[in-house]
């Protein structure tokens, strides 16, 4: 037992322990709860920092717990897991800050919320750090279970209905994933993630089996990744409070699905083997269909969070699309979009939450003149929205650039057409919002008025979106700087394509 190489386990515990403790606190202990939350997340960030520093010096991190004969729970840290862990850590930090302020006046028990919140982040970290498909499956299902109470947090009939839909979809998806994993395990043996995949040496008579297994795996992961036609749960889950929507349904849950697809394609099957099996083209086609469908549906939504939810459906499939094109440049585009989309989308959801909390605005049609009332929030929203459209130099442009260039390099010019149409559709549903906010006069008094000394809203609601908007801008502006997400993505792609 080496304390240092067990770092993945300590990182996991840094959110499990506070979560469990918070469950036993009554709602009155606000200070202690806040201290546990912020302490846990700060500790997590520090430990992640240590882990990255160690990785640069080629330290290996491995935690292995035998569960059953031949099946171990493995947590390890390779380049891909570190990218997602760092993203989750940073975003969990800002979301905790945001959630503490957002739920100030909430009548429902907050200890319950923050307990499940911490467990949910633990599950996400577990997914990111998992070293084999079994561990991944376990944490994937834990994620489903820990997010359900957050979706139904408000307890209204709408929330319960949304929760029911969510559970129905995700459990069915989980069943499909289980079938795929179990089947594969029974044939191949231990399913450790190895860059370049573990199946390429298997003889041709297994190829049809592998194709079927791939279908089950991707279908199961595709439910969480909101691939059409499995995306129906996501717009409904927007009834949850904004912090939940922000982190979990725009970033963590949906990312878990996309991340899973990336892991399966690169570290279980291997991209070249998957291409040989003709699995990439159908996946890319489904991803392209999702991209267009999500954007088309977003056009007709008046509820802001629903519009953002459909936008997520569309944007997350960029990652799947990147995984579906053979070539390192497209891989870089897909992997880096995991980070970029997370930053931009969480900014948009934070801003939507601010609008609801401060002035009671839920719908786009009510947003006339919001820019005057809440300039910093709308400035952050503008950065996020322009990034989604792909306006340089915000982060979204960098991912689109790599996806488009990678498709051109792979000879798949149709992808560039899809990206172009997607940008146009994104512009069609984001730019009118910006016009309304900045270039129209308000219709009357706001539905709610929650004035704060000097600032447009509570500082803990204002800081997170401004911070993440700044990060999205920097991720694009400084994309070629040494520690940018793009550099990490390049490293991942390099390791994947080496012979």
């Amino acid at each position: 037992m080496d304390v240092v190489s067990w770092m993945p386990f300590w990182i996991l515990m840094s959110s499990v322990v506070p979560g469990v403790v918070i469950f036993f606190l009554s709602d009155r202990h606000r200070g202690l709860r806040t201290a546990l939350n912020m302490g846990g997340v700060t500790l997590k960030l520090i430990l992640i920092g240590f882990m990255i520093a160690g990785l640069v010096k080629d330290q290996t991190y491995l935690f292995r717990l035998p569960l059953l004969p031949g099946m171990d729970l493995v947590l390890h840290a390779d380049t891909m897991s570190v990218l997602i862990v760092a993203l989750s850590g940073v975003l969990w930090f800002v979301t905790t800050l945001y959630a503490i302020a957002y739920l100030e006046d909430s009548p429902q028990p907050r200890s319950r919320f923050f307990g499940f919140f911490s467990l949910c982040v633990s599950a996400t970290i577990g997914i990111a750090l998992s070293g084999n498909l079994i561990t991944f499956l376990i944490f994937y299902e834990l994620l489903t279970l820990s997010t359900y109470p957050l979706v139904v947090h408000r307890g209204t009939p709408n929330s319960l209905r949304a929760g029911k839909i969510y559970i129905a979809y995700t459990l069915t998806g989980g069943a499909s994933l289980l079938i795929g994993v179990a089947w594969l395990r029974s044939i191949v043996g231990p399913l450790e993630f190895v860059q370049g995949g573990i199946l390429s040496t298997w003889p041709a008579e297994y190829h049809n089996t592998f194709r079927a297994i791939f279908f089950f795996l991707i279908a199961g992961l595709g439910v969480k990744a909101a691939i059409v036609p499995f995306h129906g749960w996501l717009p409904n889950a927007m009834v949850a409070p904004a912090p939940v929507s922000a982190l979990l349904h725009a970033v963590a849950v949906v990312k878990a699905g996309a991340f899973g697809i990336v892991r399966v394609v690169y570290d279980v099957f291997g991209i070249e083997f998957a291409a040989r099996l003709d699995l990439l083209a159908p996946m890319a086609a489904v991803a392209a269909a999702t991209i267009i469908w999500g954007s088309v549906r977003a056009l007709s939504q008046d509820n802001l969070k629903k519009r953002l939810a459909f936008s997520t459906v569309s944007q997350v499939s960029y990652i799947t699309l990147g995984a579906g094109i053979l070539g390192p440049i497209a891989t870089i585009g897909g992997v880096v979009h995991l980070v970029h989309q997370g930053l931009m989308k969480i900014t948009l959801f934070f801003c939507a939450g601010n609008l609801v909390e401060t002035i009671g605005v839920h719908r786009v049609s009510e947003m006339n003149g919001v820019g005057r009332r809440m300039p910093w929030t709308m400035a952050a929203f503008t950065v996020g929205a322009l990034g989604m459209i792909g306006v340089p130099p915000i982060a979204g442009f960098v991912s689109k650039w790599y996806l488009a260039t990678g498709s051109a390099a792979a000879g798949a010019d149709w992808v560039i057409v899809v990206l172009g149409v997607s940008s146009l559709l994104n512009a069609m549903y984001f730019l009118p919002i910006l016009h309304r906010a900045w270039f129209r006069e308000p219709d009357g008094k706001w539905a709610r008025e929650d004035a704060h000394r000097g600032l447009e809203t509570h500082w803990m609601l204002l800081l997170p979106p401004v911070l993440t908007a700044l990060l999205s801008l920097l991720a694009g502006l400084l994309a070629d700087a040494p520690f940018s997400p793009l550099e990490w993505a390049r490293r991942i792609a390099q390791q994947e394509y080496l012979p």
Binding site: S176, A379, P393, V398, S407, A408, L424, A427, F439
Partner: protein, 583 residues
């Protein structure tokens, strides 16, 4: 890539950075409350670093940011210096004008924010030496200009803004796709390493269209007359004077002529340029608002510059005369058009029927004569440069151009006549202040003389002063003036107008009607389809769901039912298969 000579030093790099950063930083400082009051006068000075850079920084000064957005390179080359000079001059005078014009406007800080960002983008793209930096600056300029166009917030402005932003987004997508294909298939992103028009035809078409939207090429120009009319006057001046040239610079940078020339593309640009030159005049003659007339004049003049660009492509990289022609014409047009636009604001701000208004209008005639190419004006210098550029062309083309160029000059003069006719009844919404008047006079004086002062204009200026060419530039102007006067007198005598007045935005109106009809057809069809679906599923939906969204929603609900039951079914079947096939 030449390394920078050691004699240039770090202050040159600093000047380059400052030229681009000053406007952007000034814009961002508006976010800090205590600084906000000072933004108008800071904006007036924000173009100065760029002007100093254009005048003083040595050629070849380069600054590279290897960590900025996928490696950025900015440098000052010969074409860049010329562009930066007239661009910074125009922005400088326009921002001084704006500080007076917007003084009482309650949304002026929003205006200056957009104005300054557009300025920064404009300077950035002139100095950019690699494709992505150009794209970034181009996007900044285009999106920031939206704020200028919709500033007045009335119905016309909103409509113009909508048309504008649609075309901006479409143009961005074209340019992005072209660059992605180019980079993906191994092309270089560095301008200096390009050798000839990009050979893959798809890329060249996308680039021509993408920049053509900005440059006001015909069929893609429909945003221009609308936008330049509704924007506040100082914004119109820079939109028409310098931002429109970003499209031109894009063509120059991204599609440099190869060693032997590219006759096919050269011919395309020549023809397109002439169509624009005459189309702009034809539609402009029927406009009622002076700024719209000027906007159509810009389309026409950009057509002539496109002709020069076409000549350059046709002849090949030996055509330095073509490049000189483009630069001189762009220089002359930017300043003259800027003076005309600002003049609209000045004249409109003076009480009608006073002597002062008459004198100011007459002074404005200097700029109008320059635009028409009257002898001894900068316009004549520019047109002489154009004629010099024509020399290496094959004879057939040369003869055609020799006929068409004077015809376009007649057209431009007639258009200027129409401009003064519409100016008589025009009033701006506030009276002219001293700041506006002085900045306009300054720009007017500069526009009349600048081309004679810069060394590049010397050969063309000398050629122009020869007696033969004085007559060549005089007769089209006289003919055009004659036509305009005749029409005016005929109108007064008979009381009838022979002008056909197309709406501003010409082709836009039939396009909007067509898309409306297509939309109604689609809605009717989907309504019918939805009705069929409804009877099939026997579901009663209450209320009036909107046609297409309602149809998509019912499809999606259907997915949900089929998905879950389908997945469960598939899962059960497969589990059975697994169990049965267990060895």
């Amino acid at each position: 890539m030449n390394p920078m000579p050691s004699s240039i030093g770090w202050h040159a790099e600093a000047m380059l950075i400052l030229a681009m950063a000053a406007p952007v930083l000034t814009a961002l400082s508006g976010g800090i409350r205590p600084l906000r009051r000072h933004v108008p006068w800071m904006a007036a000075l924000a173009a100065l670093p760029a002007l100093l850079c254009a005048l003083a920084t040595p050629l070849g000064a380069t600054v590279e940011f290897s960590w900025l957005v996928l490696k950025s390179r900015f440098a000052l080359d010969a074409a860049g210096r010329a562009f930066l000079l007239f661009t910074s001059l125009l922005w400088l005078f326009s921002s001084v004008f704006a500080s007076g014009y917007m003084a009482r406007d309650e949304k002026r800080f929003r205006f200056f924010f957009a104005f300054l960002l557009a300025m920064g983008g404009n300077f950035g793209l002139i100095l950019a030496q690699d494709m992505l930096s150009y794209l970034v600056a181009f996007a900044l300029m285009s999106f920031a200009s939206y704020g200028l166009i919709v500033h007045n917030q009335d119905a016309e402005a909103v409509r113009s803004g909508r048309v504008y932003i649609v075309l901006v987004v479409v143009g961005e997508i074209f340019l992005f796709s072209a660059l992605a294909i180019h980079a993906g298939t191994g092309g270089t992103l560095n301008f200096q390493a390009l050798s000839g028009v990009l050979s893959a035809p798809g890329i060249a078409v996308l680039l021509a269209l993408g920049f053509g939207i900005k440059a006001g090429a015909v069929l893609l120009h429909v945003w221009l007359p609308l936008a330049h009319t509704v924007a506040p006057t100082p914004a119109s001046a820079v939109l028409s004077g310098s931002m429109i040239k970003a499209g031109l610079l894009g063509w120059i940078r991204f599609m440099p002529p190869g060693a032997g020339g590219d006759p096919a593309w050269g011919a395309v640009f020549l023809v397109a340029g002439f169509i624009a030159a005459f189309y702009g005049v034809a539609i402009g003659l029927g406009q009622r608002h002076p700024k719209t007339v000027l906007a159509y004049s810009s389309i026409s003049q950009m057509g002539l510059i496109t002709v020069a660009f076409g000549i350059g492509l046709f002849v090949g990289s030996g055509a330095s005369a073509a490049t000189a022609g483009i630069l001189l014409y762009a220089f002359h047009h930017a300043l003259a058009k800027g003076a005309l636009f600002l003049g609209v604001g000045v004249v409109g701000g003076i009480e009608g029927r006073s002597a002062k208004r008459v004198w100011v209008t007459a002074a404005l005639g200097i700029a109008a004569l320059a635009l028409a190419g009257a002898p001894l004006t900068t316009g004549a210098v520019a047109k002489t440069a154009l004629k010099t550029a024509m020399v290496p062309l094959p004879d057939g083309w040369k003869e055609t151009l020799a006929i068409l160029l004077p015809l376009s000059a007649i057209g431009t003069t007639a258009l200027m006549g129409r401009f003064f006719y519409t100016l008589r009844t025009y009033t701006a919404h506030h009276s002219v202040s001293k700041t506006e008047f002085c900045s306009w006079i300054g720009l007017l004086a500069l526009s009349a003389t600048a081309l004679f002062l810069i060394p590049d204009g010397r050969p063309a200026a000398d050629a122009m002063l020869k007696l033969g060419s004085v007559w060549l530039s005089l007769w089209p102007v006289a003919a055009g003036a004659g036509v305009a006067t005749a029409v005016w007198l005929w109108n007064r005598r008979t009381g009838r107008s022979i002008a056909w007045c197309p709406p501003a935005g010409d082709l836009l109106v039939p396009i909007e009607r067509l898309s409306g009809a297509v939309g109604r057809l689609a809605a009717m069809l989907t309504g019918k389809a939805q009705g069929v679906l409804r009877t099939l599923t026997q579901k009663q939906r209450e209320g009036g769901t909107r046609k297409i969204p309602g149809l998509l929603e019912s499809w999606e609900a259907g997915f949900g039912r089929w998905t879950l039951s389908g997945l469960i079914f598939a899962g059960v079947v497969c589990s059975l298969l697994l169990i049965l096939s267990w060895p």
